[in-house]
Each structure stands twice: as C-alpha cells, then as structure tokens.
C-alpha cells in the first residue's frame, strides 16, 4: 500500500506522465462535458464525480482505422493498420466504468479476438479512484460493482491523503512512480472502504439485483409495456454513445490520396439504419429498436455471457432527453416478474 498527501497527487501524476501517456478526468468549467483527456499541465482535473463520458473511448475509440487500401495507379493492395505499442495510464476511473471494460472484454476478447481493442486493453494501466459521493442517478451496486476498489491499482481518497493499492501484475509497473512520491504504509483502509460501501448501499435509485428481470425471453419480449416505455424515445442514440458497455459498430470507407481507409465507428441500435437492408427492415419502429437495446442489456447479454450488460453508471438516466432510461425499464420488467409469479 502506498500513501501520499492530497497536495502530492500532482507530483505523482506528473511523475507518471513523464514516462507514460496519462489520461485523467477533466472538466473545463461548469456546463462543459467532462471526459478523460491527456494530463497535459494537470489543469481542470475533475475528481469529485463521475465523468459525462467514460473510459470506453480510450479502449474502443469512436472512430478508428482498421485497414488501408491502395488503389491508385493500377495498384490494388490491402494494408492492415498497425497497432500502437507501449503502456499508457488511466487515472481516476470509476469502478462502474471498469466493470464496463470487463463487460466489453467478454465480446471483444472472445475468439476471434479484436486485435485493436486487445492491444489497447493490454496497454492500459487503469488506476481507479474510489467513488465516495454517488450521484442520485447511480445504481452500480445493483450489478455487483464495488465503488471502493477496482482496476489495476485502486486509489482511495480520505480526508487528507490518497492511498494506492496494487491489485494486478500490470499495476506493479507503476511502483517506481509511486515510490518516488508516496510512502509505503500498513494503514488499514478497509474502514474507509466500508464507509464508501455503506454510502453506496443507500443509492437513491434503490434498485436491487432482485428487481432485475428473470423471466423467459419470449415473455419479456412480448410485454405490452414496451409501447409505453419507448413512446418518448427520440432515437438520438445518446444512451448508446455514453454507455460503458455498448459495443456496436459500423464499418465504412473514406477516400485517401491513393485509395481508401477502412474505419470502424460507434453505431447505435437506436438508429433506423442499424438494421435496414435493401431487402427490408426487421425493426420497423422505435419501439423495436428500444426493446432491442434493453433486451440486449438485461436478457440476451446475460443469456450469452452470464452477466448483465449494464453496470449502473447512470449516464443514460442523466442524459436521456426523453427520460426513457434504464431504471424505468428495470422497474417495469421487475414488476412484470411479480405479475407472473
């Protein structure tokens, strides 16, 4: 265990930033969108709450090139885009976002592995920051997230200090930097963690794992309540873009000087184009698209992977312009369970 004073955090991050590309949560003034950015001069760090945009984009960027085609001057060749090597550090990640990564792993690291995601995952050293002040829209405990401890290194802030506990082999890579600024300590921080867990247990969203749907797929799929739940959905896709577990992507080409670049982009099941073929459209209205998104998170993903595809970060609750969010869906499907049993 390592310990530094709150004032020394900047020195520690600067030391890490000397050796690694370092990303930290930042917010440029009230009303701006908070997200993870390069540490830079360390200004505008935002450590007091969950960021609007999570850490997903550091591992699965909104747009990335996968290949180049050279088609000029009679040539016709394909070049696979190289992956970057070397470690980088993400400081200040919340446990819900880290659970989001573990959820993405189940998709992208399953055979055949996604080489671009895998390389970023292997390169990323994730330092979590304990989440002591859950927002009124948080419900991570519903999905078994421990907001006090996560990542390769778990950082916890107390009244005057930060403690750092190394949890993985990869976390050990930062021992030189931690040693240069922190003292080692035998302080017991479980009591501090328990305080955080106790606060988390009082999350106002008041959902419990027992509220989650556990009915047959067909019954949930055919529930009439989908009409009501989806009635105000605008199909804007905000929920999917901010979701730590949404991984749907599109593949498209763009012209380059001597051919084309093939890139993949985040896509959204909330968009009508998502499933539209020249042969037809299997999800005709927003109701079908809305149902797909929530059935995937709460039913299909669990069938395939054994866990839910939601981590309770609450971003969709905070940002949905129509308030057609996950908590409402869980409550309605939970009610459906009671009606059936």
């Amino acid at each position: 265990m390592y310990k530094c004073s709150k004032e020394s955090l900047g020195a520690l991050l600067s030391a890490i930033n000397e050796k690694y590309a370092l990303y930290v949560p930042k917010k440029h003034g009230e009303g701006s969108v908070s997200s993870f950015e390069a540490y830079g001069d360390g200004e505008n760090m935002y450590l007091s709450g969950i960021t609007d945009r999570g850490i997903k984009e550091l591992f699965f960027p909104q747009c990335e090139e996968i290949a180049r085609f050279v088609t000029a001057n009679g040539a016709f060749g394909v070049k696979e885009t190289a992956v970057k090597s070397g470690y980088n550090v993400i400081f200040g990640a919340r446990a819900c976002d880290i659970k989001g990564l573990q959820t993405l792993d189940l998709v992208f690291l399953a055979e055949p592995e996604d080489r671009l995601y895998k390389s970023r995952r292997e390169a990323g050293i994730v330092v979590s920051l304990s989440c002591g002040e859950p927002s009124e829209t948080c419900f991570c405990t519903c999905f078994g997230v421990d907001p006090s401890k996560s990542g390769d290194i778990a950082a916890i802030g107390t009244d005057g200090a930060y403690y750092f506990e190394i949890l993985t082999e990869k976390g050990r890579l930062l021992i030189p930097e931690l040693s240069s600024v922190c003292k080692t300590t035998d302080d017991d921080i479980e009591a501090e963690r328990d305080k955080i867990r106790a606060k988390a247990a009082l999350m106002p969203a008041a959902l419990a794992a027992k509220d989650l749907p556990d009915k047959k797929t067909d019954e949930l799929f055919d529930l009439p309540v989908w009409d009501k739940l989806s009635a105000h959905c605008l199909g804007c896709g905000t929920c999917t873009y901010l979701c730590p577990t949404c991984q749907c992507y599109d593949i498209k080409d763009s012209k380059t000087a001597d051919g084309a670049a093939r890139c993949r982009f985040w896509d959204s099941c909330m968009y009508s184009d998502f499933t539209k073929m020249s042969a037809g459209q299997p999800r005709l209205t927003q109701k079908e698209r809305y149902r797909q998104r929530f059935m995937h998170k709460l039913v299909y993903f669990k069938e395939n992977q054994g866990i839910y595809g939601c981590v309770g970060c609450g971003r969709c609750v905070r940002k949905c312009p129509a308030s057609a969010h996950m908590i409402k869906v869980i409550k309605e499907l939970g009610k459906a369970d009671e009606r059936h049993t």
């Binding site: 399953a110 080489r115 797929t217 799929f221 299997p282 999800r283 039913v299 299909y300």
Partner: protein, 275 residues
Amino acid sequence: MNAIHDPLVPQVCVIREIITETPDVKTFHITAENGEKPFDHLPGQCAMLSIPCEGEAMFSITSPMDSDRLEFSVKRCGSFTNRLHDAAPGEKILVRGPYGRPFPVSDFENEDLLFIAGGIGLAPVRSVIDSCLDRREKYGKIRIIYGARSYPDLVFKDSLFGKWKEADNTEVFVTVDRGGDGWSGHVGFVPQYVSEVCNDCKPVVILCGPPVMIKFTLAELTKLGFEKYRVYTTLEMKMKCGIGKCGRCNIGSKYVCRDGPVFRLDELEELPDEY
C-alpha cells in the same frame, strides 16, 4: 502487401467470370490473385464482398464445398449490389470469410433430402445440392422444389433443367408464380407445390427463400407432419463484422452471422419473433 491477421480486414481477390442468371441476378466466380480458392467453405456459409468506398455486404457462397472457386449469386437490389453488377471479369474485389454455421451435410447422410427454394433463395441451397451430388452415394432420394416469379426469373437454369434433372435418384420440380414468357411447366406458389410433391414422404428439408415464402412453407410442412428438428432454413439480417461483435444481426441472443445463418425450425421457434 502484408500479412492479414485481422478478421475484419479482407484479402484481394479477382472476379474471373460473371454469369447472367436472370435480368437482375448475376453469379460472380472469384479466386485469390494467384488463382486459388481464397479459403475453404462449407455449404450454407457466407462471405463478405467489398469494393473500396462502394460498400461491403454479406453474401451466401453458392458453389459447392469442393469447388476451386467461390461463387456468389447476387441480386441487384441496393447500392453495393448495383455496383457489383457493373463489374467486369478481371476486376479486383475484396473478400473475407467464411462466416457462419453451415448446413450439417454429414448429418444428412443416408437421408432422403427435400430442397425447397424461392427466388434468389436457391443461392445458398445450390451449394448444399451440389455438395451432396458430388457425394451422391451418401444420400438417399433428392427432391428439389424451386419457384420464382416467372420463367425469366429462374436462376441456375443449367442446373435445374440439366445437371440436377439428370442426376441419379433426383427429381426437380420447378414452378413459377406467373406463366407465360415461354414457360409451359407448373404455375403456382411454392408452399402449395410442397404438399403436391411430398404428401407421403418425410425427408430432411432444406428451405430458403423470401420471408413470406418461408413462413407459408413452414406452415405447410408443419401441417404435413414434418418434424421440426428435420427442417433447416437460413435467416438474413444486416451484418457488418461477420464475427458476432458489431451487434446488429442478433435475433434474441443469437447472432445470425455466427450462430446462423442456418437454423433448424425447432431452434427458430425459440427465438423472439423479430425475423
């Protein structure tokens, strides 16, 4: 240019030959640049075809598993298929695959087989038929029922009225929705024709065609007492990755690109009604 390891990155291939099947269907014969088959495949599997900046889409492989080329029969119906139809032999094309769960042809051994197809739905079925005919002794009686809108819309006429018709212990039944255009054979829809042809036999069924035809044919087969676990069909959804990761071709918890496109009727009935 360099080795390809990423399943999303295609290899450069060449269109060797283009057969005009109908006014809106062409069959493309494709090999790698060195003339070899780009990869091995099993009947029912698919591959992604693309042309830089023109699009990429999934097509079923219509050639049999032992063929030395990949053949794709493509109906002109959208922007990318329009571009493909304008291609000429010798043109380069990008290919990746094979994708999906094939028809379990080894499970079909010693069975009588009934192939039912409508329109361009004969494309994936042709791969199974020709693969079985290449090992004719392993299979029982083969019946093929095929329907299209009209005589000019029938694909693979050479096989329908030549190779398949002449094969051992094989019967071919062709019907069109609308007579004329020089057609003197059966006129009517596929589902009704099935009950005429297969009243008292219960072969393994391989069914592929437009959704409405599949729906009515499945109802007919159920009425005739076919067992669900002996009826196979294929599903179609929009696809981007082909490997169960881009998230768009799922029906319930199944991804058509990875868990399909071939499904047994009993498996199909487990899925939510979204296909």
